[in-house]
């Protein structure tokens, strides 16, 4: 009994050392990816995982590096408790040189405190909190924030003569930024926000809110929702027989929106930086691989994740063989004109992406690019 | 001034008059029995005295101060403690802990004292609890879970809990219910000794023999009204009492 226990303790103490001992050059380089694989937002995390797998398989097959790169996926459930624990775990793993994720800004930012402390580059594909990249020099993101998208949409709507706008958004950090940046630009361009309201994410019934919007008599509605709330909103709008132009952000750019809302999604205008039917070869091959894996066209978010993984891999290639957390960070910061499926990405000095936006509208059940 | 004065107490439940204009009293050190056929309003009267039910009209004074309208815990803290008709011990607490609730109810212990207090206060509470336990002969089983005690023992536990408050008046609601003859006799002796030590006791009972045997005075209720209030011998001979009991066929 005592002997066994002593042996066990011995093994437990020696085991980590032996790992260190066997480490040599051909060891794979690791990237951590924290994302919700279970829980209420699992659908997004599962999308990211598929996208990351596509990117990684291609990369390892391409032979750009003599060693393999691995991605360690950890499920955060979009729960800050778990996100922080994962962050510590990644930091502890010496072989992890960079981290991707998380999905929501809340978890990304809670984890960011750990990465900041430990000096680990973190690249989120979706965190859109205005302060996320300001946390430290270690935080990057490749999604355009509403600081870019909001004014772009406002200009678009003003140019179409839609000056009285009702703004609604989900009550999240992202929704807050949706209304703020849009409204600032709209008023600056001479438009008026006739009504601003937030709703709780996952609200099943928008009809009270819709009736209220109808009463405010706007020329158009600007919405900050994800595709699920979006589908409900559009369906119920149709039910109430209310018709005004609806504009939205890239967060609603998802094929599932059209599947869920069907004909009611017709006419929805939104901005995106990912066009699945673009003729560019990188987009084509990604869309093909995605359709093979999932059977449907990818939306904005998987494309965003695909690019994030590739940007991270690119940084690793640039630094190899002196790949460390610090060197990867510097390489990320130097990312310039990276050709991704969501367009060309360059990180500014604030570690925010500078990207090109496109306008699309749902016509005949597809997101079709429009030039207006 | 009597210890407990009940004056013209009435309680209606909807159309039913459960207690109808009852006036009586309990003197210090007295042992009073309250009897009556089923539904006579005995328990309701008890609840009125101990604050569990509000009066419709009338007045109750304890030690000279009006207590009608007071909350049960206020009345209890003034020195009146009670037991319940259907046993209400705290089943998932030990015998000691059960009784200690009576002690702590009377003496009080603040949260601050519980955490930072020195042992003196707790010793006083503990001493009181042990005293009550020894009085009823449950000291040996102090660690037992109350739910595991026999029915008869639980009766004594409930009395011990009431005694731990060191009341001036103990009111017992049907203490002999469910006991066999020898247990009842033992209980009667026990109540007698409590009274001999100067504690005023008021008990509601079905068991005429118990009441007649130990009480110095008996109050009889029928249909909410008081029909007799005298020494046992007088009550036993009262035709109104006989009629009330025979008429209802007790």
């Amino acid at each position: 009994m005592t002997v066994t226990r002593r042996t066990l303790v011995g093994i437990a103490l020696v085991a980590p050392l032996s790992f260190v001992g066997t480490a040599f050059a051909a060891d794979p380089i690791k990237i951590g990816y924290q994302l919700p694989l279970t829980g209420n937002t699992a659908q997004y995390g599962q999308d990211f995982k598929t996208a990351a797998e596509i990117a990684l398989d291609r990369f390892n097959a391409s032979g750009k590096l003599p060693v393999k790169v691995e991605i360690v996926y950890e499920d955060s459930r979009s729960d800050a408790k778990e996100g922080v624990a994962i962050a510590r775990k990644f930091v502890d793993d010496e072989k992890i040189v960079g981290v991707l994720g998380d999905f929501t800004s809340g978890v990304s930012m809670a984890a960011a405190q750990v990465y900041k402390e430990a000096g680990m580059p973190q690249l989120s594909q979706t965190a859109s909190h205005p302060d996320y990249a300001k946390i430290s020099e270690w935080q990057f993101r490749n999604i355009t924030t509403q600081a870019g998208e909001g004014p772009y949409n406002a200009d678009w709507m003003v140019s179409k003569g839609l000056k009285k706008v009702a703004v609604i958004a989900e009550q999240t950090d992202w929704g807050q930024s949706v209304t703020k940046y849009f409204s600032d630009e709209l008023t600056a361009k001479g438009g008026t926000v006739v009504m601003t309201e937030y709703f709780n994410r996952g609200t099943p019934d928008f009809r009270s809110l819709l009736a209220k919007i109808e009463r405010a008599k706007p020329d158009a509605i600007y919405t900050g929702f994800f595709y699920e709330d979006g589908a409900n909103f559009l369906k119920q709008m149709k039910q109430l027989g209310y018709a005004v132009p609806v504009f939205s952000t890239s967060a609603a750019h998802n094929q599932k929106l059209i599947e869920l809302a069907g004909p009611d999604a017709e006419g929805l205008s939104l901005t995106t930086n990912f066009l699945p039917n673009s003729p560019k070869p990188e987009v084509k091959s990604f869309v093909e691989a995605w359709v093979k894996a999932r059977g449907a066209e990818p939306g904005q978010f998987p494309a965003q994740a695909f690019d994030a993984v590739n940007i991270m891999l690119d940084a690793i290639v640039k630094t190899y063989p002196k790949t460390t957390r610090a060197s990867v960070r510097d390489a990320l910061a130097a990312t310039k004109d990276f050709p991704g499926v969501t367009g060309v990405t360059t990180f500014g000095p604030d570690r925010e992406p500078v990207k090109q936006l496109s306008k699309v509208r749902v016509v005949g059940g597809v997101f079709s690019p429009v030039a207006e | 001034m009597s210890l407990l004065e009940i004056e013209n107490v009435t309680r209606r439940f909807g159309g039913l008059v459960a207690v109808d204009d009852v006036t009586t009293r309990v003197e210090a050190g007295e042992l009073v029995g309250l009897i009556g056929p089923n539904g006579a309003g005995k328990t309701t009267l008890f609840n009125l005295i101990s604050g569990f039910t509000a009066l419709t009209s009338g007045a109750v004074r304890f030690k000279g101060a009006a207590i009608d309208g007071s909350k049960p815990h206020v009345i209890a803290a003034r020195g009146m403690s009670r037991t319940f008709q259907n046993l209400r011990v705290f089943p998932n607490m030990s015998v000691f802990d059960n009784v200690s609730v009576g002690s702590v109810g009377a003496m009080g212990q603040s949260a601050f004292a519980a955490v930072f207090g020195r042992r003196g206060r707790s010793d006083a509470i503990s001493a009181r609890t042990w005293e009550a336990l020894e009085r009823v002969g449950l000291a040996e089983q102090s660690e037992e879970l109350a739910a595991n005690l026999s029915y008869g023992k639980r009766k004594y536990l409930e009395i011990a809990r009431a005694l731990a408050m060191r009341p001036d008046l103990l009111i017992l609601d049907e203490p002999a219910a469910g006991l066999n003859d020898s247990e009842t006799a033992e209980l009667a002796r026990f109540i007698r000794t409590l009274n001999d030590d100067g504690l005023a006791v008021m008990l509601v009972e079905h068991d005429m023999n118990l009441v007649m045997g130990i009480c110095s005075r008996v109050v009889v209720l029928a249909s909410g009204r008081k029909i007799a209030d005298a020494e046992p011998a007088v009550v036993r001979a009262d035709p109104a009492v006989l009629e009330a009991y025979l008429g209802v066929d007790e």
Binding site: G39, Y198, N200, G202, S208, E228, K256 | P91, N92, N148
Partner: protein, 304 residues
């Protein structure tokens, strides 16, 4: 001159309330008999919706067939749930256990555990996203009544809820099964002594209550066109609140409170903002409880 806008908002609030009511009926029935909170009721609702979804995608039967199959699935779920999460705890019948809060709360936790397993299982099987439904099954075709617009689903759900309520009242007051349910709910031990098979009665109650839960699930799923693993959570809480507000044992009381809850949310959106709607609904509950500590339709607490 009354503004039709407010009529429209009232109609929306009411339809929201009817949905809560649909859920609250089954919840209250189960609570009334067993006196325990069934945390898994929300999952019965969800599984009911998924059962309907599977049926629709596999066979595309007529609407009524879907509804009846889902009701049958719900009854089976209720049976299974009772056997798994509730029955095992009835083996503890000694006094200490009966009065022990740990025991009383244990079924609450066992039903919670079952609900976690069910929800996570659904997530693994279907993913957490909203499922796509064939549009022809959705019950959301608009109907205009003067200035007010409602949808077909409002009518269907209202009729179903009314049928459930009426049927249940009939069942409880006019039939033998109902008599034994009421007997068990009033005094389980007494019911046992007079020869009622309490075990069977309890499981029957669960089957009936869950049938209603599952039916509510598919109806609401088709109403919003949204079926996903976490869909039962919010209606579950709202049904719980409505039940308590109504006084625990009164099914009509729960229905009325569910309507009030829906209305108060609708009005909160109208006059304040939709993200504060919950605040108003829960504030309404607290105020109700302060003035009616036993709920609006509850019986007084037995004293001593």
């Amino acid at each position: 001159m009354f503004d039709p806008y407010y009529l429209q908002q009232l109609a929306i609030g009411l339809s929201q309330g009817v949905i809560y009511a649909l859920m609250a009926i089954g919840f209250t029935l189960i609570f009334g008999v067993l006196n325990v909170v069934n945390f898994a009721h929300g999952e019965v609702y969800t599984v009911g919706a998924f059962a309907g979804l599977l049926l629709i995608t596999a066979f595309a039967p007529p609407f009524l067939v879907v509804l009846f199959v889902v009701l049958a699935v719900g009854a089976a779920l209720g049976f299974g749930l009772e056997r798994i999460a509730f029955k095992p705890f009835r083996r503890f019948s000694d006094e200490a256990s009966l009065k022990s809060r740990a025991m009383r709360e244990s079924t609450l936790m066992s039903s919670l555990a079952v609900s976690i397993v069910a929800r996570e299982g659904l997530e693994i099987a279907f993913g957490s996203q909203m499922q796509t439904l064939p549009f022809e099954y959705l019950i959301n075709k608009p109907i205009a009544i003067g200035p007010v617009t409602i949808v077909t689903g409002d009518v269907i759900i209202f009729v179903v809820a009314a049928l459930m309520l009426g049927g249940l009242q009939y069942l409880l007051t006019k039939t033998r099964v109902g008599l034994s349910i009421r007997a068990v709910s009033a005094n389980p031990l007494g019911a046992k002594y007079v020869g009622i098979d309490t075990d069977r009665t309890i499981v029957t109650t669960f089957a009936i209550g869950s049938m209603m839960g599952a039916g509510a699930g598919i109806l609401v799923g088709l109403y919003y066109g949204a079926i996903f693993p976490a869909m039962g959570f919010v209606p579950g809480i709202k049904a719980f609140v409505a039940m308590v507000m109504g006084g625990l044992s009164s099914i009509p009381g729960a229905v009325i409170c569910a309507l009030l809850l829906g209305l108060s949310e609708g009005l909160a959106t109208t006059f304040i903002s939709s993200n504060w709607a919950d605040m108003v609904a829960y504030g309404f509950l607290i105020v109700t409880l302060i003035f009616f500590p036993q709920g609006l339709f509850g019986a007084g607490r037995e004293r001593v």
